[in-house]
Symmetry: C3
Subunit: 410 residues, 3 copies
C-alpha cells in the first residue's frame, strides 16, 4: 500500500476518533438538559469520570481484553493479551490492519467507544444513584463486561465465528449500555414523584431543553465518526455510504417519532423528535454499511415509531428513565441488530436467527453481570441516596456546589 | 488517479460535510440566543424540522432536481433526474467527479447545504410565525425553490453558461434564504412592541448572548467545510487558500462592524461584532477561491461596515428581523456576489454585470415564489399566531412546554 | 512526494487548524462559566476581539516575525520577513515544508495558535480589567511578544540552536500566556471580596459550571489539533502517538487532581477535576511526540497533582486568578517543558538543563515585556475599572447590555 493511501486512511480514523470523543460532550448536554438543575454537577461529574476513567482502564487492560488475539475460527470466549498497550511489531506500518490505521489509532478509537456504554447507564440512573456506587459500577462494567462482550464479536470470538453481524455496535455498545441501564433502573426504583399514587407516570421536566437539543445535534455529528470510523479505513465507497445511511436514518427516525407523537398526543413534542433522531442513529448502527439509502430511511423511520412506543412501554412498566436511554439504546439497539437480518445485503432467515441469538446471549450476559455488580453494591453500600438528598439535590450533598451559583435574574 | 489521492479527497469532503452539518447547531444557538426565552422551544423545533425534513426532501428528489444532468452549453432552466439517489455507474470510482469524491459524499454534502436556506428564514420570522405555516413553507422552499435555483448555476444551467460565478453560495444559498426572509418579514409584520408609537425601533433583547456567541463561533468553524468543501476536492492549494480567505474575511468583517458601531454608537456592541463576522463570511463566500488574502480582508472589512448600515436600514424600513438575517445573508450575500466582479481573479466590468444579472434574476425568482407560497399560506391558514400566543410565548401554545422548566434561582 | 500523500498531509493540517480554532469556543465557555454573570458579555467581547484581532495581526506581520527565515545555526534573536503573507515560490507544492502542508495552511495553523496566548491572560484578569487596556495589551503581546519568542524556537532561532525542545508549546504558547497572566494579576490586584479581612481566600463561584465543563471538553477536542497538528504532517505513526499521549495525559491529569483534591478536601470537586484535565494537556504538550503511553500517563498524573498544589499556592500568594490560568498554563507549562528532560526519548541531564534555561529565558522576557506594556498602560490610563463598575458588573458599564436580558423564572 502506498504511503498516501495509508496516511489518508489513518487521518480519517483519527478524526473519527475525535468525533467519537466529542460525543461525550453530546451525552453530557443531553443528560443534564433532561434532568433537574439540582443534579447537574453530579451528572457532569459522572460523565467526566467516565471519560477519563474509561480511557485509563482501556489503556491498562481493556484493549487487550477486547482484542486478545483470537485466531480465525477460535470461537473464543475470553482472552487477555496482557497489561498496557505496547505496540506489536509493524503496528505502525501498512502491514497492520490492512493499512487502515496504526496501532495507536486503533487503541484510541476503540478507547473512545469503551466509555460510551457506561455513559448510557449514567443518564438512566440520574438524579438518585450514589456517586460512589456508580463509579465502582463504571469501573467494573467498562473494565470487564464491555471488553469481554466486545471480544466475542469484534475481537474475533464466538459470535463472530457464528456470523453475527454488528457493524458499529447496536448491540455491542448501545445494548450493552442499555441492558445495564434497565437493571440499574429496576434495582434503584423511580425518583420521588415520578409515579403518582394512582400509579400514573408524571413528567419531571429537565432544566434546559436547548442543552438537550445541542446534545442531540452533537451526538449526530459524533455518529459520523462512530459509524464512519467503524469502516476501519477511509474506503471512499464504504465510508460515504455509511455517512449517508447514518444521516438518513437519523432524519427518518426524528420524522417518524415526530409524526407518531403528534398524531397520538396532539402536540409538537421536541423531546420526542430528538429521541427519534437518536433512535434512528442507534437503529442503523448495526448495519450502516449493508443498507441502501432507501433501507436506511425505512429502518430509521421504524426506529422513530419504536421510540414513541418504547418510551410509553418503559413508563407502563413503572421504570423511571429520565433521559429515555432504555428506549433509545436498548430497544432501538435490539431493533437495529435484528434489522440486519431483515434488510440489506445480509438479509435472510438464518442471519436473522443469528442476530437474535446474539441479542439474547449478550443480553443475558449483561443482565447477569449487572445484577451481580449492582446487587453486590446495593448489599454493601446501597445504591440510592437518602430521601433528603434526593429532594435537596445531589449537587449540594455530594459535591458541595451548585451548577449555576451566580445566575441571577434581576 | 491513484487510490491515495481519491481517498484523501473524499475524506476532506466527508469532513466538510460534517462541518456543514454542525452549522445547524450554530444557527440554532444563534437564533435562540438572540430571541426571547418564551419562544425557544419553537425555534429549536423549527431547526430540527429543517435539518431532518430538508435532508429527506433532498434525498427524495431535491438532489436530482439540482443536478439534473444539464450538458455543457444547455442553458437549462429546469430538469429532473428522477426520484431517489440511486448511484450512477462509476459513482464510487475516481471516474466520478474527477476523483474529488464519491456520489454518496456528493449527495450528503449538497444535502447539508440544502437545509441552510430555510434556516436563514427561520431566524427572521422567529417569535411570531405559525409553526404549521412555516413547516409547509420550508418543504416547498427547500424541496423546490432552492434546487431549481441551484440547478441554474451549480447544476450547469443557464447562469453557469452565462459565466455567473458563485463559488460556495453567497447568492445560491445565502441570498436565496435572505430574499425569502425579506418577503416573510414584510408579510408577517413586526413583533408586538418592536416599533413604538413614534415609529422608532426598540431593541427586544434575546435571552442568552453566550449562546449567540457560541453559535457564531460554530458557524465560523462550519464555514471551513462550507467554503473549504466547495472546492469539491482536497486540492491542497485551493482548499488552503479558501480557508485563509474565509477566516481573514470573517476576522475583518467582525473588526469592521466593531469599529464602525463603536464610532457611531459609542458602546462596545458584542452583537454587532458577531454579525460583522457573519457578514464577512457571507461576503467572501461567492469568491473565496478567487481572492488573495489582501482582497479577502478588504471584502470582509467592507462587509462588516455594510452590516452596520444594513441593520440600521432594515430598522428604518420598519422590518422586524430579530436575528439580523436580512443584513447578514441577503445584503452581504449580494455584496459578496458583486465583489467577484470587483476584486480577484475574475474582476472586470463584464463579470460585474453578469454577477448583477445573476443577483437580480435569482432575487426576482425567490421573491415571486416566496410571495406565492407565503401569500397562499396567509390566505388559507394565516401566517401569524394570535396576539395572545405571541405575548404568552409560542412554546406553551404550540408545544405545551417551556425551554427551562426546572431552572431555579434560589 | 506523490499527490495523495501531500493531499492527505494537508487535509490533516487543515482540520487540525479547524480544531485549534474551535479551542477559542472552549476557552470562551470555560472563562464565562467560571466567572460571574455580570461580566459575561465583557469576557466574550475580549475573546472575540482576540480571535479576530489576533488573526489580522498575524496576517499583517506576526507570521513573518515568527518565521523570519533564520538559517540553520543562525542562533537568531529577531528577524522580520516583511508585511503580509505573500506566498514564496513553491509555497503550494510538496517542495514546501517537506510536503507536510501548503504555505496557506502553515499561516492559518500558526495564526490560530497566536491568539491563544492572549486568551490565557483574558481568563486570569477577568472581572476587573478595563477593556480598552486589555485590547491594547493584546495587540502588543500577540503582535510582538508572542512571535518574537516563537521565532527563538519554532522560527529556528537561538533556543532551537541550543537544542531546547518544545513540541507544541508548553512554553512557547502556554507559559508565554501564563507569565503575562501572572504579571497582570499582580498589577491588577484581587477582585473585591476575594480575600477576607483575615487574608483568607474566599471562593467567588462562577455562573455556569455546565458551560465550564463543555469548555474543557471542547479544549480537549481542540488539543487533537493543537498537538496532532504540531507534527506538521499527517505522518501516521507520529500523529497517532501524539493523540494517544495527549488523551492519556488529559485523563490521568483529571484523575490525579480528582484523587488528590478528594483526599485533601473531602468533596468531589468537579472544577478541580476539570482543571486537572487541562493541566495534563498542558503538561504533555512540550513532549507529546517523545513519550510512550506509560510516560504520558505519569506526566499527566503528576500535572494533575501539581494543579491542586498550584491552585492552593496562587491563593496563598494572594493572587486572584478566577479561572486557574496560572496553575494550568504557567505552572503546568513549566512542568511539561522540564518533563522533556526527565522522561521520554530525549531525557537526560543536559536536555533538562537546556529545558530549564529555555523556561527561564522565555519567562524573563515575558515578565519584563508584560511589566513594560501593562505598567505603561497602568500609568497612562489605568488597568482597573472603578469600584462601582466592578460591583455592578462590566457588562452594563462597558457594553450597555446584559448577557441574559430576557431570562426569566416564572
Amino acid at each position: 500500500m502506498d504511503a498516501g493511501l495509508f496516511t489518508a486512511n489513518n487521518v480519517w480514523m483519527m478524526l473519527a476518533t475525535a468525533l467519537v470523543f466529542f460525543m461525550h460532550t453530546g451525552f453530557a448536554f443531553l443528560e443534564i438538559g433532561l434532568t433537574r438543575q439540582k443534579n447537574t454537577i453530579n451528572i457532569l461529574f459522572k460523565n467526566i469520570f467516565i471519560i477519563t476513567g474509561g480511557l485509563l482502564l482501556y489503556y491498562a487492560w481493556g484493549f487487550n481484553m477486547m482484542y486478545p488475539g483470537f485466531e480465525d475460527g477460535d470461537a473464543g470466549i475470553f482472552g487477555f493479551a496482557g497489561f498496557g498497550i505496547a505496540a506489536p511489531e509493524n503496528g505502525m506500518t501498512p502491514e497492520y490492519a490492512d493499512g487502515g490505521y496504526t496501532w495507536w489509532t486503533d487503541f484510541l478509537f476503540q478507547g473512545m467507544f469503551a466509555a460510551t456504554a457506561a455513559t448510557i447507564v449514567s443518564g438512566a440512573v440520574a438524579e438518585r444513584i450514589k456517586i460512589g456506587a456508580f463509579m465502582i459500577f463504571t469501573v467494573v462494567y467498562v473494565g470487564l463486561v464491555y471488553p469481554i462482550v466486545g471480544a466475542w464479536k469484534w475481537g474475533g470470538g464466538f459470535l463472530d465465528s457464528w456470523g453475527f453481524y454488528d457493524f458499529a455496535g447496536s448491540t455491542l455498545v448501545h445494548s450493552v449500555g442499555g441492558w445495564a441501564a434497565l437493571v440499574a433502573v429496576a434495582l434503584l426504583g423511580s425518583r420521588i414523584g415520578k409515579f403518582g399514587e394512582d400509579g400514573k407516570p408524571k413528567a419531571i421536566p429537565g432544566h434546559s431543553i436547548p442543552m438537550a437539543t445541542a446534545g442531540v445535534l452533537i451526538l449526530w455529528l459524533g455518529w459520523f465518526g462512530f459509524n464512519g470510523g467503524s469502516v476501519l479505513s477511509a474506503d471512499p465507497e464504504l465510508t460515504s455510504l455509511v455517512l449517508v445511511t447514518t444521516s438518513l436514518a437519523a432524519a427518518a427516525g426524528g420524522f417518524g417519532a415526530f409524526l407518531l407523537s403528534t398524531v397520538l398526543y396532539k402536540n409538537l413534542d421536541l423531546t420526542m423528535f430528538l429521541n427519534g433522531i437518536l433512535g434512528g442513529l442507534v437503529g442503523i448502527t448495526a448495519g450502516a454499511d449493508l443498507m441502501s439509502p432507501n433501507e436506511a430511511v425505512v429502518i430509521g423511520f421504524l426506529a422513530g415509531l419504536i421510540i414513541v412506543g418504547g418510551v410509553a412501554l418503559v413508563d407502563k412498566l413503572k421504570l423511571d428513565d429520565p433521559v429515555g436511554a432504555i428506549a433509545v439504546h436498548l430497544i432501538c439497539g435490539i431493533w437495529g441488530t435484528l434489522a440486519v437480518g431483515i434488510f440489506g445485503a445480509k438479509a435472510g432467515g438464518e442471519q436473522l436467527l443469528t442476530q437474535f441469538y446474539g441479542v439474547v446471549i449478550v443480553g443475558a450476559f449483561c443482565v447477569i453481570t449487572s445484577l451481580i455488580i449492582l446487587g453486590t453494591l446495593k448489599a454493601i453500600m446501597g445504591l440510592r441516596v437518602s430521601k433528603e438528598e434526593e429532594i435537596e439535590g445531589l449537587d449540594i450533598h455530594e459535591h458541595g456546589m451548585d451548577a449555576y451559583p451566580d445566575f441571577t435574574n434581576d
